[in-house]
């Protein structure tokens, strides 16, 4: 009596599977996170996100998998990449900035896949969410409060340089946070006794206008308003301004490394890290519309002492007492230092 081969195989397979299923636990369920970046400048947010998720127990390639799409600073690629990312159907999508959040909001309008934005300015004004407390749709995340902090930024500039009376504000009129931010700055300036002068800049070509404005209007300092375009031009802007011996108050921490005297905001890393907590909530089954948009918790004043030294500025101890001090960057001296 010969036993058919397939039966023997089936038998062995069944025994093997039975043994495995009884003896070995099922592998942990792997979650998938899709991350959309407009360019390499946002990589720090991704780093922060991964760190934050690790702190919460998600380890890459063990119980979490990242699908990362970067447009490489090419705005036209963001939408197709967003669509591509959505087709992969990750458990949650992460937008590392405003344009990414807008693209993901559009591509998920139908299926309402959860989207977490890791640091956008004026999320309510930009229409990403209905309100901070009740986002109301499939998007939630971290509002970096950069526009709202513009007034505080001006105050802290004055805390560092108490003699500042005239400030040139560079803003990007093409981004939604620009005007609310300007209103906040103007309100603060009124209380602080500072005279403002505004210069719109949306592209590299308009830098010339900035130069002529600096030449025609004396300014004690320049205040940068939040804008992803200005972020990309910060190095050039700072170079132009510093050449006129004027200090620049920036938004993001890394801008101090590009020559800004100081910056007040949340680092990209911290934005990503804070967004990780929201990603975790969604992975645990909470609905984005019920998760309030968070505002930043690790806002830091960073001061580049070398920049101050180059400009021959003497910084007030009141301002410095609140600041994290660095040296180096594009100021000519290498290395960063603590306070």
């Amino acid at each position: 009596m010969k036993l058919p081969g397939p039966l023997v195989l089936l038998m062995l397979l069944a025994l093997a599977i039975a043994g495995c299923s009884v003896g070995v636990g099922a592998p942990p369920i792997q979650k998938t996170v899709g991350v959309l970046l407009s360019g390499d400048a946002r990589l720090a947010k991704l780093t922060g996100l991964k760190q934050g998720l690790e702190d919460l127990g998600y380890f890459e390639n063990k119980n979490i998998r990242y699908i990362i799409k970067s447009a490489g600073d090419d705005q036209t690629l963001i939408r197709p990449l967003a669509e591509e990312l959505a087709r992969e159907r990750p458990d949650v999508l992460v937008a590392t900035g405003h344009v990414e959040a807008q693209a993901l909001k559009q591509v998920t309008a139908a299926d309402k896949m959860p989207v977490v934005f890791a640091g956008v300015a004026s999320s309510v004004e930009q229409g990403l969410v209905e309100s901070l407390q009740r986002p109301g749709s499939n998007l939630t995340g971290v509002d970096n409060y950069h526009a709202e902090l513009s007034g505080k930024r001006l105050e802290l500039l004055q805390k560092l340089l108490p003699g500042v009376r005239r400030v040139l504000v560079i803003y990007d009129p093409s981004v939604p946070p620009a005007f609310p931010g300007l209103r906040i700055v103007e309100s603060a300036a009124l209380h602080l006794g500072i005279r403002l002068d505004r210069v719109p800049v949306t592209s590299r070509e308009e830098l010339q206008r900035l130069t002529s404005r600096l030449d025609s209007h004396a300014a004690d300092a320049v205040l940068l308003m939040p804008s992803f375009r200005l972020e990309a031009l910060v190095g050039e802007i700072v170079a132009v301004i510093k050449s006129r011996g004027v200090p620049v108050m920036g938004v993001n921490e890394h801008e101090t490394e590009l020559g800004c005297l100081a910056a007040y905001g949340v680092s990209f890393t911290n934005q990503g890290r804070q967004a990780a907590r929201l990603v975790d909530k969604i992975l645990n089954g909470q609905k984005p519309e019920h998760i309030p948009v968070e505002t930043p918790e690790n806002i830091a004043l960073v001061v580049n002492l070398d920049a101050a030294r180059e400009l021959g500025l003497s910084l007030s101890p009141v301002g410095l007492s609140f600041a994290r001090v660095i040296t180096g960057g594009q100021t000519g001296k290498g290395g960063a230092a603590g306070e």
């Binding site: 038998m11 901070l132 505080k152 019920h290 309030p292």
Partner: protein, 745 residues
Amino acid sequence: MSDRIAWWQRIRFQLLGFGVMMSIIPLLALGWANINAARTNLEVSIQRQNTAAARWVAGEIYLSVKNIWDKLEAVTGGYGGSLLTMDNHERERILYSLLKTTPLVEEMAVVDAAGVEWTRVSRRRVVVSTRAVLSSAGPEMVNILAGRRGVGRVFLEGDGRPMANLVVPLFDGTGVRVVGGLVAQINLRGIVDNTVSGAKDKSGYLFVVDDQGRLLSHEDFSQVLQNRDVTGSAAVGKLLAGVNPADLPTPHSYQSYTGREVLGVFSPIEDLGWGVVIEQPAAEAFAPVRGLLWKFGLATALVMAAVTSISIFFGIKFTGPIQELQQGTQRIITGHLDHALQVKAMGEIGSLVAAFNQMTRELKIKSDSLLAEKSRLDTVVSGIGAGLALVGKEGRINWVNTTLAGWFGGGENVVGKFCPQPWAESETACGTCPVFSGDSGPESREVVHFIKLGEKNKYFRHRVFPLHPGSEAGAGYLVVIEDITERREMEAAICQADKLAAVGLLAAGVAHEINNPMNTVAAYTEDLLERLNAEPAAARADEAEITQYLGIIRQQVNRCTKITRNLVSFARQSKGEQQLVEINELLRETAALIHFQAKSKQLNITQRLEPGSLWVMADRGELQQVFLNLLQNAVDATGAGGEIRINTCLGDQGIDVAVADTGCGIPEEHQNLIFDPFFTTKPVGKGTGLGLSVCYGILAKLGGRIRVQSREGEGTVFTVTLPPAKKDTKEVPTHEHPSQLVDRG
């Protein structure tokens, strides 16, 4: 046969069922016990872990708050009342420094004892006014003025974050008098989130309530924003009631404020009056148990598949040879005795197969032998010359041999009918038939039936033998039928020959017998003629005398007629028809036939007959032939002057007719031969040697018997015993063996 076996009765299915039961039942029992144990352990484990997590979170929150308090007190302790007197910039510097190193503090302010803010620093807001006043009735100022650290009100920031004010008092240089205080606005959500993220072993959701049960923070922050009332949860109730968390029952399950069944624990936060509650929805808590159930189900299914496969494997392995054996048996049952099983198996099955094949070979040999025997038996049965029939116990004929079938024009004319209808043309059972009488004795009496088959008269004699009388199933009867027509005809011919011979012998006597009356007739006729010639008128006138003469003549003629009629009647060939015959009368008539011979030998014939009539059922001619033969033999054997006695009497055995003579007797050595055909001691022309043989045959037919007692030189007595007549007798039982018929004295 195999088609009649239900699938569930087959060995392989029973083996399969056995295997599955033996593997699944223990698995299910163990699995059930394990899952129950796992559920209980899980409940205990969850409660233990969550209690530890709640305690840990409560501790962390307290430590966070205490850390801030400590920092605030470090400043107030270090600067004392000078915080109120120093330069505002310096105070600002101190507060900003503190703010920088205390991330959970959103804003900070220095107030005097009246609650008036002197300096305020904030992370987000642009501070434009520093002259706000804290209410002296508020918890902040109550604590400050009481000279102790404390917690103020909880409130929501514009962006929805819950905030609480921590206060520490500011003493003057004496360290006794409160001159003001330091107020720090702390971000509760930040504190809770930071600590919750560190509670790795927690399962379920966590929330923090204040001393009134109000929700301060929740992992699902929308609950805070909705201002959910969580006091409906038993854990919150027990927290507010001051129950020790260690006293909670296990499992502490209840319906939460969400309406869902939860396992809940809590831990109070030291000094703050707040509490941490962790609730794990039962559905989620037991997800691992459900997972375990799924795994167990999967494992059960797989084990079942494995066991089924193994059972099928061994079922096929074990039952394959058995099935082949069964199929082989089927083939053998259908007559394929040449079939040999080709099963290659070891052990008992192999041995069984070998034995089976051996048995089949033996069966084949035996069967061939049996067939040969049957063939021989068929030949014998067919050639036996007798008809054989098998009759069932109900009397129906089931089988006939070729001889019997040939008699009746084919077996189909016989089989299916009831015995003895084919050979008796009647369905009436024979009187002594064991088939219908239920008598299962060794055999029945022989019964002879006469029927007409076509144009021919046929005599059949049959005898019934019970078969397997002890077995209900195989009970039946063998009927042996003989066609005795020829024999009967031969017997009749012999009988007739004997009769004619007797007639021949009687002829002379009869002639003498007739001669006397004829002489008388002749004498009277002569005398009458002479008288008529001599004295015609006178003679005519004497009519009375003439009438007397004619009367005598008529009497003598009648006598002659009687004698000749008697002879003719005797000589007539018997038709075999039975009728009532009166023995005494027949003996008288027969004695008359022999009268002349006796007289001529001067023998004295005496008759002593039983008074009355003695009736028997017989063929008159045949019976008369018997008596005539006996009387003839007596006359022949008795010398002159001898005596012949004829006696009849009704005895116990029947009607006895004795013919005794005083003749020469029969030698002892001849007594056994006298009934054999053609045995005679008479000289040629005196006897044929058939007489006693015919007598024997006739008496056998009549159910009678004949005995002989003889002593040489003294005489012989032949005694015939006949059964008295019975009404409606149609059958004539016979006995063939001489010992049953003949008694020799």
